[in-house]
């Protein structure tokens, strides 16, 4: 995809500022919304989105972008019928990342903020802010919290119950 090319190039060269990072992701989202989200919705299908505008609200604000500005930016997005937030304490997410044994990516670890030269420490500092933002989003947008510390099957049971409930409720409309 077009936008992906610019994002990739920008990330590779560490060219992005918090604002251009935010805008590029919004551009990519607008593109996905037009082609991948709205058409199936119109056809009455269920769209499963692996991260949505809320990711931007948390991540961009953690980078210092204005909280209200980024919410207004995504005004064109369709409000999801159900939004799930997989909550995990920061130490657990670091443990899981370390277990994967993959190198932390520059932006993923918030290295662009220059808070620490150590990727893991940078990730910890950055992610702490991201998680704090998510907590405000839970109340503000009614995100359904799933305890992501538990086993996959436990999580899946919770998710299925929430989705089933939502589908039941929509059928009633």
């Amino acid at each position: 995809m077009l936008v992906k090319a610019a994002t990739k190039a920008g990330k590779k060269k560490n060219l992005l500022t918090p604002m251009t990072f935010s805008l590029l992701h919004a551009t990519d989202f607008a593109d996905r919304l037009t082609y991948k989200i709205v058409p199936p919705l119109k056809a009455g299908m269920i769209v499963l989105a692996d991260r949505y505008a809320y990711t931007a609200f948390a991540r961009d604000v953690a980078r210092g972008v204005d909280r209200e500005w980024v919410r207004d930016l995504y005004e064109f997005a369709v409000r999801p019928d159900l939004a799930l937030y997989f909550r995990v304490p920061i130490e657990v997410s670091i443990e899981r990342l370390m277990a994967r044994r993959v190198k932390l990516k520059f932006y993923e670890a918030g290295m662009d903020m220059g808070w620490s030269a150590d990727p893991v420490e940078s990730f910890r500092l950055f992610q702490r802010r991201v998680l704090a933002e998510y907590e405000t989003l839970v109340g503000e947008f009614g995100l359904q919290v799933v305890d992501a510390v538990g086993s996959i099957s436990d999580q899946q049971r919770t998710v299925r119950a929430l989705v089933a409930g939502q589908l039941e409720a929509s059928r009633g409309d």
Binding site: V3, A5, A6, L15, L16, M19, T20, A30, T34, D66
Partner: protein, 249 residues
């Protein structure tokens, strides 16, 4: 034109401050530099005027930096590709342009005004806003989107009528797809589409001229007359600034 509930009172924010919520992580207080923007549709001689202004300002001893639409290192290739492939919708285009502007704002414009340069902007945010409005993008949303932009110290609008513009464009390089608004599918005839599209665009510029205090310059005048006019206004402004530096006020 419908009344615009989001229209600000003329005057808007102080020049040199953010239009809206700005970049919270980037303070621009008391920057000594100035931003001078030249706006207007394609084919009215913006780049010629900017080149002449630059020469004049440099002779006067000012440091000058130029910035132009879609010239960012980050976005230029993507925007060119998007234009060629015609796969993006209007919203995606608006956001690509905003990203380009943000990149140049943070990497070219802000560093330059911090260092006391005069930034000559070959189109600032207004052409993008006018084009987006013609394509039906929400006005309030656009204003918020560009809330991270800095209000220029001077905005000149090179104004032209559609008849003169059509002839000028045909005499030089001919009408192209985007300038003729062919993406709006106003008709198959490129000349008719150009006229309809540019008429709408000029109407949006006129509305923006009031909203954002443009200084209107008649673009039908000869190049040197336009240049004289620009230099006179910029000269007055710079003299007044030199007499009462921003930091003293």
């Amino acid at each position: 034109m419908a009344t615009d509930a989001d229209a600000p009172t003329p005057g808007g924010p102080e020049p040199g401050t953010y239009y809206g919520r700005g970049l919270p992580y980037l303070s621009i207080e008391n920057c000594p530099g100035k931003i001078i923007a030249i706006e207007g549709t394609d084919g009215i001689g913006r780049s010629t005027q900017i080149r002449l202004l630059r020469e004049w300002l440099e002779v006067k001893g000012y440091g000058v930096v130029e910035t132009g639409w879609t010239r960012s290192i980050l976005m230029r290739p993507t925007i060119d590709l998007a234009k060629a492939s015609n796969t993006l919708n209007k919203l995606t285009f608006v956001l690509l342009y905003a990203t380009d502007f943000a990149d140049r704002l943070e990497k070219e414009i802000i560093p330059a005004v911090k260092a006391g340069f005069i930034v000559l902007a070959d189109r600032y945010i207004f052409t993008a806003i006018a084009r987006a409005r013609v394509r039906g993008v929400d006005r309030g949303w656009l204003r918020n989107l560009y809330g991270f932009a800095i209000a220029p110290h001077l905005v000149f609008y090179l104004k032209i009528d559609v008849d003169t513009l059509a002839r000028r464009v045909l005499e030089s390089r001919g009408m192209d797809f985007w300038e003729s608004g062919m993406d709006l599918k106003l008709g198959d005839d490129i000349y008719d589409s150009f006229r309809t599209y540019q008429t709408k665009l000029l109407r949006e510029y006129a509305a923006l001229a009031t909203e954002f205090n443009f200084r209107v310059v008649d673009a039908r005048l000869p190049v040197d007359r336009i240049q004289e006019n620009l230099r006179a206004q910029i000269g007055t402004f710079l003299d007044a600034e030199a007499a009462a530096p921003a930091s003293m006020r």
